[in-house]
Each structure stands twice: as C-alpha cells, then as structure tokens.
C-alpha cells in the first residue's frame, strides 16, 4: 500500500497578493512599537519629575503663606499696640496738671485786682487744649492785667491764647479764651520722634 502523505495538492492563490508597499506596515509597526515605548517612558519620567516639582513648589508656597500669615498677624498686633499707645499718649498729653496754671493766674494778679471766678476745662475733643474763663475786677485799664496774666501763662506753661472774647461791666471783666499748647511737647513730642 502506497503511503498517503501528500494529500494537499498545489493550488493557485485565490486572492490577489498585497502590493509591495504594504511590506512597510509590519516594519512600521515594530519601529513605532519601539519608538512609542521609548517616548512613553521619557514622557512618564518627565511627568513624574513635573509632579514632584509641583508638589515641592506647592509645599514651599504653603510654608511661605504660613510665614506671610504670621507676619500679617504680627503686623496687625503691632498696629493695634501702636494705636493703643497713641491713645495713651493722647490721654497723658491731655493730663498736664491744671494747678500750676491756676497758681500762675492767681500770682499774676496785681494788688488791686480780684478774681471773681476762674475756670479751666479741657476741650472734649482735644484734652491738651483748655477752655479758659476768668472773671475779675481790676483798676483800669483792665487790659493791662489781662495781658499780664496771659503773658505769664504763655511764658511759664507755653500755652497760647486763642479765640479771645471779653465783656466788661464797670470795672469787672469777663474773659474767655482757648489755651492751646505751643508746639508738640512732653509725651507727644517723644512719640513724634
């Protein structure tokens, strides 16, 4: 019995062969496979590096923001302290003793001058200024006595007299003015430095 090992006989191609150019497709496939792997690896590392940098900068930004917030907080604390200190300076500056001024007024009076009433009131909006009122009787001309008193107040206590008003009835004079400190002095001067 003859061996039956060649059952498949030669047959002609049924379909048309592919054009020669189509041989580039598998070559292109391998090339692109290698290229894509290389590029993806490169892009991946760049991506990781950018991500690390982003996290680093975000962390740095957060720490800088924390420092900035602390600085702002400290600044507002200092500003508040400064405002309080200025308020205190305003208070102390408006607390100059009045008794020496009273004594000066009394001592400035001539022998024939008599004080009927003397009033000193601090201005509500500016305590360093004083609303001064003096009712007195003196020998004419009464202006001499008044000028002497105001001059002594100015020389001894550096208060200038402003907004002067006076009325006279017989030998009695009612005088009002505002005593304003000349220049900055005391604590206000120190604070201004």
């Amino acid at each position: 019995m003859e061996p039956c090992h060649d059952l498949k006989t030669e047959r002609p191609d049924i379909g048309q062969p592919l054009p020669k150019a189509m041989m580039l497709i598998p070559m292109g496939f391998y090339l692109i496979l290698v290229g894509a792997a290389a590029l993806n690896t490169l892009f991946y590392f760049q991506y990781r590096s950018a991500e690390t940098q982003r996290l680093h900068f975000e962390q740095e930004n957060a720490s800088q923001e924390q420092i900035l917030n602390e600085t702002k907080k400290r600044r507002s604390e200092i500003d508040l302290e400064k405002k309080r200190a200025k308020d205190l300076v305003g208070w102390v500056d408006g607390s100059d003793p009045l008794q020496p001024v009273v004594m000066t007024v009394i001592r400035s009076m001539d022998a024939n001058s008599v004080i009927e009433e003397l009033s000193l009131t601090r201005k509500p909006d500016d305590a360093s200024s004083i609303l001064f009122g003096l009712k007195f009787s003196a020998d004419p001309p009464q202006e001499t006595q008044l000028n002497k008193t105001l001059e002594e107040i100015q020389n001894k206590h550096s208060y200038g007299a402003f907004y002067k008003r006076s009325t006279q009835k017989g030998d009695q004079v009612t005088f009002n003015c505002e005593l304003v400190p000349e220049g900055t002095r005391g604590v206000a001067a120190a604070a201004a430095q």
Partner: protein
C-alpha cells in the same frame, strides 16, 4: 477583503492606537509641566510678598518700638485699674490722713463711656465740690494731680468762698479704665 488585508488593517489599527496613546501621554506630561510651572510662579510670588511683608514689619516694629515700650510700661498699672480700684484710689485721695478739707459734694462713682474703640474705654469721674482754706485747697489739688498720675483733672472752677481766706472749688477728676482692664496680660 482577504486575510492579508485584515492583518494589515489590524496592524494599522495597532499603530494608530500606539500613536494616540503616545500623544495622550505627551499631552498629560505637558499639562503636568505647566502645572509645575504655575506652582513655581505662585510660590515665587508668595515668597516676594512674604519678603515685602517681613521688611515692612521690621520697619514698623523698629519705628514704633519706643511708643510701644511706653505703652507696656503704663499698661501694667492701667490693666489693674478697674472701676472699683479707681474709685477706691479717689476715695483714698479724698479721705486720706493728710486731707482735712470740707467737701460739699463728693461723687466718685460717675462712670462714663470715653472711647468706643480706643484704648481708654471708660472713665470714672469724681465730681467734687469743696470749700476750704485757699492754700490748703490748692495744695490738695496739686498733690492729687501729682499722686494720681493716671488721672486727669478735667475741669476746675474756682470762686470766692464764704470767708475771705476760703475758696469754693468745683473739680472733675477723670480716671481711665482701659480696654481689658482687670484681665491679666497673657
């Protein structure tokens, strides 16, 4: 379409897929780099702002140090000065051993608002009227102003008294109650 065509189409599809994937990866990487650059810019601008704020703080700190030292010196005493303490001080000044003046009026409990948002929030006003010896009365006024260093004489009105050597004096003395008085400083 035979098998060869089918295989080519399949490989072509795979090639397109790989190109698309690579392009996507490239875009993703580009976005990440952009994000990193943005984060860097933000961090740098915050650093600049932080440096400027620090420099400004240093200037303000140095310029206001004397003023704030002045406040801290007074603050110790003023923080302890509550309404009760201020009133007690005033009472002591009026009824002290060296004071033997005739007071016609002595109201030491007149509490008045002073400044809503300032350091001195309220004042305790002592409204006093006295009629006594001229020298003694004025000496007392001077002593009060020297002793009660945180207080201020707000107004003083002097008239002739009943007798020749006596004066009639109406005074208002304000004692400050500061913001946070009665609280220990932390």
């Amino acid at each position: 379409m035979n098998n060869k065509h089918l295989a080519c189409t399949l490989i072509g599809g795979l090639i397109a897929l790989m190109l698309w994937g690579t392009l996507q990866m490239f875009k993703k990487q580009g976005l990440k780099v952009q994000e990193a650059q943005n984060a860097k810019q933000v961090a740098e601008s915050t650093k600049v702002a932080c440096g400027a704020a620090k420099a400004a703080l240093e200037v303000v700190d140095n310029n206001s140090r004397d003023l704030r030292d002045y406040l801290s010196q007074w603050d110790i005493e003023l923080r302890d000065q509550t309404f009760e303490v201020a009133q007690a001080k005033m009472e002591q000044q009026i009824s002290g051993q060296n004071t033997q003046l005739t007071f016609l009026r002595r109201d030491t409990a007149d509490r008045k608002p002073f400044s809503k948002d300032g350091y001195v929030r309220e004042t305790v006003n002592a409204n006093l009227t006295l009629e006594d010896d001229f020298v003694k009365s004025l000496a007392w006024l001077g002593d009060t102003e020297a002793t009660m260093i945180t207080s201020r004489v707000h107004s003083c009105r002097i008239k002739k008294g009943q007798a020749a050597d006596r004066i009639h004096m109406e005074i208002t003395i304000m004692t400050p109650i500061v913001d946070g008085a009665g609280n220990k400083k932390s």
